[in-house]
């Protein structure tokens, strides 16, 4: 009898993937709730790592007819000291009695692991990039070039040698162009042969030479050129500007809030664009571009001039990120302090230079821990930006005091909206 041994290891794995997706789709609301909840408890970095969530089994259960209660008989192994007729006291809340009706399932929550992608997908599922159709920038596409077969005309630089030579070869074979070996063979024969034969061979050589002349090695009709065509290419890269006030009034807590917001924005953009760059600009009364470490942890002191940061951003955009090639996002975090005189400059910079080239500009006002935002008077910057917004500048602004508010605020900013809501907000 033949035994077949099959190596299945190389078969495509994840046969269950579709079932898993069906399950997630079905449990979407539940899983999404769980994801939101668990993301508030963990660090932002960990949010990216996916991980375990637990969802209530309710709604995901598979009911069956089950029984409980009644007289039970059981046979058990391992008797040590019992004899027939013994009465054993019931253990406290013996099984079957203490359970409420219908607790057929031994567990009421269901834990399982989500992959990183699934987690981020679910987490950001109901968010979308602000729709900027009204601004031409979102639709700007650059042209790319791609190969598109061969053509019979073109510039000499584009001659495709391999294609040309192979066509020439085909033509030579088809027209039976004599090969040099044949000619060489005849000429060798000519050296030592009889007189009668000599005349014949000479005639043959002549005929061959004539034919070779008639059929060129490469004919103009063989020549092929590589053809290119231009295709519109969507802009697949984004740059994200992180602007932060690092003057003395910004506490560690505030910076932490800002950092969380930036990271979320980064994750979100990363999902939409193939390539995302980050530019960190910190400012006191003057602004500088720094690396991430310095941005969040480097010491700095001084006054506060918001316009310096805006100017720096504008300069960087002008020199390095052409708005035609880049989607530009900016998020500014500050405690709201700004020198009064700076207001007008900053406002003009923003409305004239920055907003027209940005896809999105968010202002996040971070507050003290335990601070109650509604009790505070509006800060200088907030008042300034609110004024701009009232005049129709496309700015998003939110206030945040607590770590746990970051997610809701972020969510709120990017929530999928209907057209009316969008214009209203």
């Amino acid at each position: 009898m033949a035994i077949h041994i099959v190596d299945r290891r190389l078969n495509p794995g994840s046969k269950s993937l579709e079932n898993r997706q069906r399950f997630l789709r079905r449990a979407k609301a539940l899983v999404q709730g769980a994801v939101k909840k668990s993301s508030q408890e963990r660090d932002i970095k960990d949010v990216l790592e996916g991980g375990e969530v637990s969802v209530p089994i309710d709604g995901m259960d598979e009911p069956r007819f089950r029984r409980e209660g009644g007289t039970r008989d059981m046979v058990l192994p391992g008797n040590k000291k019992f004899v027939e007729g013994d009465m054993l006291p019931r253990p406290n809340q013996s099984g079957g009695k203490g359970r409420g009706a219908g607790e057929g399932d031994s567990e009421d929550t269901f834990r399982f692991v989500l992959s990183r992608d699934e987690f981020v997908d679910l987490f950001l599922d109901d968010l979308e990039l602000p729709d900027l159709a009204k601004r031409k920038l979102a639709e700007v596409e650059c042209e790319g070039i791609r190969r598109a077969g061969y053509s019979t005309s073109g510039s000499p630089a584009n001659i495709s040698i391999s294609r040309t030579v192979s066509r020439a070869l085909a033509r030579r074979v088809a027209l039976r162009r004599p090969r040099p070996e044949e000619l060489a063979a005849l000429e060798a024969e000519l050296e030592d042969c009889s007189e009668a034969r000599r005349v014949e061979v000479l005639a043959e050589i002549e005929a061959l030479k004539a034919k070779i002349k008639r059929i060129p090695f490469i004919d103009p009709i063989d020549i092929r050129y590589r053809r290119f065509e231009t295709v519109p290419k969507p802009v697949a890269q984004a740059v994200m500007f992180c602007l932060m006030d690092v003057s003395g009034s910004m506490t560690e807590h505030m910076k932490d809030l800002a950092k969380r917001f930036y990271m979320l924005l980064y994750v979100f953009l990363k999902r939409r664009y193939r390539h995302v760059e980050i530019v960190f600009i910190r400012h006191t009364d003057r602004a500088e571009e720094v690396d991430e470490q310095t941005f969040f942890y480097g010491p700095a002191s001084g006054g506060t001039l918001v316009s310096s940061a805006l100017q720096a951003m504008h300069d960087i955009v002008r020199t390095r990120f052409r708005p035609e090639d880049w989607n530009i996002y900016a998020a500014q975090a500050s405690d709201g302090d700004n020198s009064y005189a700076d207001g007008e400059v900053a406002g003009r910079l923003l409305t004239d230079k920055i907003l027209p080239v940005s896809q999105f500009f968010a202002y996040l006002e971070v507050g003290q821990e335990n601070g109650l935002s509604y009790e505070m008077p509006n800060s200088a910057l907030w008042t300034l930006y609110e004024g701009l917004r009232a005049n129709g500048a496309p700015l998003s602004m939110r206030k945040v005091n607590e770590r746990s508010e970051i997610f809701p605020v972020f969510h709120d900013l990017f929530q999928r909206r209907t057209q009316q809501e969008r214009t209203a907000s």
């Binding site: 077949h4 078969n11 598979e62 059981m74 054993l88 219908g102 399982f112």
Partner: protein, 514 residues
Amino acid sequence: MTATDQLLFQGADWDFRTLQKICDTCEQVACDELGLNVYPNQIEVITAEQMLDAYSSVGMPLFYKHWSFGKHFAFQEASYRKGLMGLAYEIVINSSPCISYLMEENTATMQTLVIAHAAFGHNHFFKNNYLFKQWTDADGILDYLEFAKRYVAHCEDRHGRQAVEHTLDAAHALMSHGIDRYPGKKSLDLRAEEKRAGRRRAHEEAAFNDLWRTVPGGKVKSSAILDVERRRQMLGLPQENLLYFLEKTAPRLRPWQRELLRIVRHIAQYFYPQSQTKVMNEGTATYVHYRIMNRLHQQGRLTDGNFLEFLQSHTNVVFQPEFDDPRYSGFNPYALGFAMMQDIERIVTDPDAEDREWFPDIAGKGDAMAVLRDIWANYRDESFISQFMSPRLMRQFRLFHLHDDPEERAGILVDAIHNERGYRRLRRELARQYDVGFIDPNIEVVDVDLAGDRRLMLRHTVVKGAQLTETDTKRVLQHLADLWSYDVSLVEADAAGTVLKEYVAHPRNLAAAA
């Protein structure tokens, strides 16, 4: 020949040549020395992830898509990753050829063990046990699953995923009551089933004429003249196979929904023998691998080291914790089955006076394999235990019987122990634990109110006071009502006919079912 020439392998590594050699050698021992009769074998080497895949679709190589399998997969994957659960070394499928999945991580010794266990032990049992012969069609199952998968996908395309999912949810809820417990007139031929379904669809499509919809229906016969007896007979009542009843008589199901119920029912039926022969099946396979491995060691084909590795994992497999051990979770079917098989071997070859008194038919017959093969072919767990559990084994396991009556305030009664007075009672009670008649609640369709509101009436016959759990029952009845599309009632009554509880469920959306 030197000793090393005879060795199948050394150390832990294996390749496909080694596997082939192992199979051939095992086959020699199994077929020539033990006299096993098996389906052709197909051995497939898979990864841990593929094993998890197989787990979540009830061990079958192909299955239709449903979210619940995804749920099981997610759950098992989570517990596997946390290290709560080890994976089985193998999965074996009752089909012809008999497919065994081996994990790639297994050592050479483990592969030998697993091949002996699955490809010969389980395989022989599948091919010869009367329940499997009666209820399953090993030749057709893979084709049928393929058909089911295609059919479900096809329904999803035509009727929408939601509708299909809903029907399957309902069918799954009733799966445990979609089984014929008694053999009918016709044996199951899955290939013919598939052809029949295709023919019926083709006919319906060919004969479709929209005009028929406009023909006014004939006068409804006065249902008053149908007396209860005749109606019940026409509907085939009482009927315990709920899925069958719905498939045949639910008034407003569409043809494809009936076909889905049929698919779920057939698959439930296919697994029915497995649930009744857990102890015997595992016992057989364990006994067979134990015999084969010992023989290979005797022949000098396994090194002492590899044999010790085998013994260690064998001992883990047949470990039976005692009732007060935290690890105890009921009888280990491997342990119980293996112990009984070995005990039978002893009774047949080397009986004592007690064995001769208890088992006159087999004691001292001499040919252990002949007796065992006969037992493997003709018994299921319940009859096997009630016939062949010996007093010696009961003493060895130190069995005792507890009787827990909630009415009894004083506590739980020790009703029987492993002594002369208790043997028969112990054996009867233990066998009962494996009796399918007691494992699943006994629920039947008793009547349909054809004259009135078409209510479907079910009855749960309560045994020993165990009633249905309320939440689950309501949910299942909801599914049932959705399929039936009229009200469904379930009455729980004890043997004397006293009604203990009554449930009523209303269909959720008549329009969707119509």
